[in-house]
Symmetry: D2
Subunit: 344 residues, 4 copies
C-alpha cells in the first residue's frame, strides 16, 4: 500500500539486467561509450528528430536546470507555474545554474493556459534594462497535479512562446505517463508543439537513475556539455547511464512501465471515487489528488498505507477533509491497491 | 591491455549483486533509506569518527566541489597543486560551486611540501579587502602522478593548515589505493593528520558510480545538504548509491580492489623498468608515469594497447621519448599485463 | 513641470559645496578617509546605535543587494512585495549577489501586512531540503506606491520576522521622506521595530550618488566588506562619497530636503484632488499615484509636463482614466507645481 | 611628499567645475542624459571608432569585470599576468562577475611577451570538456610595475590572441599615462593592435570617480547593459559620471594630467637614481619601483614621506634594501618632490 512516490519503488528488472550485461570489459568514459551512440540514435528515432542533441544525467533536477540554463541568460526570468518542480522542489537549483535568473510564476491551477502565460509574459515588460528580461518557458507534463496537457494545449502554449521569441522547455519527469495517456507521438508532444528542449525522465518510470536532455536544435549542444561538466554531472563510468536508457527504450519498456503505472492509478482512482473521495484535479496519468476525511486518513495510516497529505496535518477535527497525493509506480500490485481500497 | 584509466573497467560483481539485492520493494528516497544509515555507521566505524557527517554523491567532481564550497567563502582562494583534479579536470566546477572563489596553485612536482604550501599561503597576504582571502587547502591522495603522501607528510601539511586556521580537504578519488599502499588506518590518513573533509572515492575502485563526502566536524552538515540539493546531486532513488557504498565497505571489498589494482601496477612497473622505461614519478599505488621511445608507443598502440600519452603526440622523431600514463584498475588480468610486457 | 523621478533633479548645492571642499590634498582611499570616520559617528548618533557598522556605496541597488546577500544564503528565499524595487527594478541583481537566492512575493497593494507576510512565510514550508529555505524579509519605506508604514506597522512586521528567526531589511531609498512624514526617530523606524539592516538613501533626496548601508549588529561587517569589494563597489577615492553623506547629515540637510519634497507633493496632491483625480494609494510622502483621463494626460504632455504613466499608454479611448506616477524632488519650485495645476 | 597612489590626490578642479555646471535642472537618468551622448561621440572621435559602444561606471574594477564577463563564458579561463589588478586586487570580482571563470596566470616580470602568452594558452589545452576552455586575454597598460607596452608589443600580443580566436581586453586604469609616454594614438594602442574592449580610466588621472568601457564591436553592447544593471553599477543620476568624463576629454585635460604625472615621476626617478636607488623595473609612466636601504626608508617615513614598501617590512637589518612603490599623481608639486629628494 505504498503510494508515496513513483521514485520509491524498485527499478524494472530489465534495467538491472542491462546494467549487469554492461558490466564487462573496458569502455570509454564520459559519454563516449558505444551504448551512448545507440541511445542517441534511438531517441532521435523515437522523436523523429534526426538532428537532436541527446545527453544523459542522473537526476531530474540536473536535467531541468542544465537544460534551462542553456536556454537562458542570468538577467532573464523563466516562466513556470507556482507548483512547478523547478520552483518548489529544487532548492534554488535553477537560480544557481542559470547564474541568478528569476522565475516568474504563471497563474495555474494545474495546467498553464495560453491566456495566463501571455499575461505573465506581458507582466514582465522589459522596461529597458531595469527589470528582468523575458526568458524561457517551462511546462511540466504530466503536471504536478496529475493532469496532462493535450497536444493542442501544448501547441497553443508553443504559439505563445513563438510569438514572443522565447524558447520552451518541457519538464518530462513523467513524460511517458503523459505520452501513453494521450496516445500521441513524442514528436507531437514536443517539437511539433514548439518545445525546444525536453527533460525526458527515466527515473520515475522504472529506471534506477537516468534522465535524458534533448535539444531539437543542436546549436547549443556544445554549451550544454560544458555546463554539464562544470555542474559535476558528467559521469566517468557513463556506460551505466547509457545501459539504463537503452534498456528503457528497448522492447517498449518505457511504454509498458508507464501503461502499468497509469492503469494502476486508474484502478485506485475508481476505488477512491466509489468511496466518496473528492478529486481536486482530474487524474490523467499515475498521480491522484483526492480528499478524504481526516479520520479516514488516520485509519489508513494506522493500517500501514503510505502516501503524502498535501494540505494540512492529522491534527484537527476528524470530520474535516484533507487532500492527499497518491502515486502509482510501474511495480505496484493490484493486490496492494485492492487491499488499500478494502481498508477504505 | 587497457591502461587508460581506472574508470574504464567494469564494476566489481559484488557491487552489481548489491544493486540487484537492493532492487526490491519500496524505500524512502533522498537519503532516508535504511541502507544509508548503515553506510553512515560503517564509515564512522572505519574512520573511528563517531560524529562524522556522511553523504553520498555519484561523481568525484561533485564530492570535491560540494565539500570545498561548504568549507569556503566566495571571496577566498583555495590552495591546491597545478595538476590537481579540481584545477585541471573539472571545467571550473570549483569556481561555480563556491560562487566564484579562486584557486591558488601551490608549486609541486607531485606532492605538495609544507614549505611550498606555506609559501603559497604567504603569497596570498590578505591585503585588507583587496585580494582574495585565504581559504581551504585541498590535497590529492593518491596524487595525480601516482605518488602517495606518507602519514607524516600529511600531518605536516595539516600543521601548516592549522597554523593559519585554514580547513583541509582530501581529494581521495583513489583513497583506498593510498591506504593500502601506506598500510595505515583511515583515521591516520585523515583527521589525525588534520583533514577536515574527505572525498572518499568508490567509482575508480570498482564501484559503478558513488563517492562519499565525510565531514569530521558535523557543524556544516546541514549546509552541505542544501548545497547538494541545489547542485542537483541528491538522488531520489538514493538506495542505489547506498547499496554500492555498503557493498564496497563489506567484506573488505574496498581493500581487496585497491590491493589488486596496486599489485597489478607494481607488476606493470617492474616490467616497464626492466624494459628501460624512465619514471618521472615513483609509482606508489595504481598509476605509473613512464617514458618510452615514440616508436615504442607507436608499436604498442598498433598492437592494441590503450593508454594516454601525457606530453606530446606520436608525430615527431621516432627516437624521442614520450611520457605516458598507465593506470591499472582492480579488474585487469595478469595476462593482459604480461601480454603488454611481452610486446614491449 | 518635471515629476518623473526624484533622481532627475539636481543635487543640493550644499552637497556640491562639500565635494569642492573635500577636493584638496591627499586622502587615504577605500574608506579609510577621515570623513568616513565622521560619517560613521554621525550615523551611529542619529540612529542611537553606537555599535552599528556603516558603509557607503554609490547606488541604491548596490546598497540593497549587498545588504541582502550579507543577510542570506543562496539556498534561501527572500520575502518582499511584488512591486519591490529588488523584484521589479534591479534586473536580477539580488539573485546575482546572493548567489542564486529566490524572491517570494508577499501579497500587498502597497504595504505588506503581518498577516500576508506570515502567509507567505508559511507558504515556504521548508520541506526538508527540497524547497528554498526561508531567508530575510525586505520592506520598502516609503513604499513603491508612496505610502508610509507607521512605526507600529513596522514593529508588527518585525514581530513576524522575529517569530520565525528571520532577519529584516529596510530598503530606505526614500528613508527620510518617510521619517519626516511620520515624525518619528530613525531608531523607532528601524532597530526598535526589528530592522537588522538599512539601505539609507541619499541619492533620491538631494545627493549626487551615495547610499549608506547600516547593520545594527556589526557581526557581519567584515563579510560585507568582502562582498562590497568583490562587487566592485568599493571606491578608491572614497572621500567623495563620505563628503556627500557628511554634508547630507549636517545642518539637517537630509531633513530639510525631505520636508521640502513632501510639502511639494502635498501641494500637488491637493491640486490633483481638486481637479478630480482619483488616488489609487493615499500619498504620504513625495510620490503620488493618481488617475486622470487619457485626454488630460495628452494635454499635459503636450504642454511639457514630464511624468510616467503607470498602467497603459496614450493610445486608446480619450475618456478612459490612466494612473500616473508623480514624484516631487527637493528642488522643484512651487511655480512649477502651480503651472502644472493651472494647466490641469 | 605623498607617493602612495594616484588615487590619493584630489580631482582636477576642472572636473569639479564640470560637476557644478551639470548640477542644474532636470536630466534623464540611467545614461540617457545629454552629456552621455556627447561622451560617446567624443570617445568615438578620439579612438577613431565610429561604431564603438561606450559606457560609464564609477570604479576601475567595475569596468574590468563587466568588460571581461561580457567577453567570456563561465567555463572559460582568462589569461593575465600574476600581478594583474584583476588577479591581485579585486577580491575575486572577475570570478564573481563571470559566473565562475578562472584566471590562468601568464609568466611575466611586468609585461607579457607573446611567447609567454602563447605558452600559457597552449598550457590550457581544451582537453574536451574536462578543463577550462580558453577565454579572453587581459593586458594592463601601464603595467602594474610602471612599464609601458610599445605599440608593436601590443600588436604582437593581439596577433597571438587573433591566432587563437580569443578576444583581448586592455585594463587601462592608467591608459593616458601610457598614451602620452608612447606618443601614439588611442587607436594604435587599442583596436589597431587587436584590442576588443578597453577599461579607459579616469579616476587615477584626475577625475573623482569615472571609467569608460569601450567595445569596438558593438555586438555585445546590449549584453553589457544588462550586466551593468544587474551588477548595480548603473547610476540613476548618471549625468555626474558623464560630466566628469566630458570634462576629462575637453581641452586635453586627460593628456595634461597624464603628462604632468609622468613628468613628476621622471623628476623623482632621476633623483632616486642619483641617490643610488636600484630600479627593478624601468619607470616609463608615473610609477616607480625602486630599492633603498631599510634605514633610508625609516628615515623618510619618519620625516613624513608616504609610499608603500613592496616587499618586506621595516623590521630587519638596516643595511638591507627594500623595494618601494612611488606613484606620482597629476597634482603633486615639484616642491614636494624636491623636498623628498633633499631628505634622501
Amino acid at each position: 500500500m505504498h503510494f508515496a512516490s513513483d521514485n520509491s519503488g524498485p527499478a524494472n528488472p530489465e534495467i538491472l539486467a542491462a546494467l549487469n550485461a554492461a558490466n564487462t570489459g573496458y569502455a570509454m568514459g564520459y559519454g563516449a561509450d558505444e551504448e551512448m551512440a545507440k541511445v542517441t540514435a534511438r531517441i532521435r528515432e523515437i522523436f523523429e528528430a534526426p538532428e537532436a542533441a541527446v545527453y544523459l544525467v542522473a537526476t531530474g533536477t540536473a536535467a531541468n536546470v542544465l537544460a534551462l540554463s542553456t536556454l537562458s541568460q542570468p538577467w532573464q526570468t523563466l516562466f513556470c507555474s507556482a507548483p512547478a518542480h523547478i520552483n518548489m522542489d529544487e532548492c534554488n537549483a535553477p537560480e544557481f545554474y542559470t547564474g541568478g535568473a528569476k522565475l516568474t510564476l504563471v497563474t495555474a491551477a494545474d495546467k498553464i493556459t495560453p491566456a495566463n502565460l501571455r499575461a505573465a509574459i506581458e507582466g514582465e515588460e522589459t522596461r529597458g534594462v531595469h527589470g528582468p528580461q523575458r526568458g524561457p518557458i517551462s511546462i511540466t507534463q504530466v503536471t504536478e497535479f496529475g493532469t496532462v496537457y493535450t497536444v493542442d494545449e501544448l501547441a497553443a502554449l508553443g504559439d505563445v512562446a513563438t510569438s514572443y521569441g522565447l524558447p520552451m522547455h518541457l519538464d518530462g519527469a513523467r513524460f511517458t505517463n503523459a505520452l501513453v495517456s494521450l496516445g500521441c507521438t513524442p514528436a507531437e508532444m514536443t517539437w511539433k508543439a514548439g518545445v525546444d528542449a525536453v527533460s525526458f525522465g527515466g527515473t520515475k518510470n522504472g529506471c534506477m537513475g537516468v534522465e535524458a536532455v534533448i535539444f531539437f536544435d543542436p546549436a547549443k549542444a556544445q554549451e550544454f556539455e560544458y555546463r554539464r561538466k562544470r555542474g559535476a554531472h558528467l559521469f566517468s563510468k557513463h556506460r551505466y547511464l547509457s545501459a539504463q536508457m537503452l534498456a528503457y527504450l528497448t522492447d517498449d519498456l518505457w511504454l509498458r512501465n508507464a501503461r502499468a503505472a497509469n492503469a494502476k492509478a486508474a484502478r485506485l482512482a475508481t476505488g477512491l471515487r466509489n468511496a466518496g473521495a473528492h478529486f481536486s484535479h482530474e487524474p490523467q496519468a499515475n498521480m491522484i489528488f483526492a480528499a478524504l476525511p481526516r479520520a479516514t486518513h488516520q485509519r489508513l495510516f494506522d493500517a500501514g498505507a503510505v502516501y503524502h497529505l498535501w494540505d494540512g496535518t492529522l491534527d484537527g477535527a476528524a470530520e474535516e477533509e484533507l487532500t492527499a497525493r497518491f502515486v502509482c509506480d510501474w511495480s505496484i500490485g493490484d493486490d496492494q491497491i485492492d487491499a488499500f481500497l478494502a481498508l477504505l
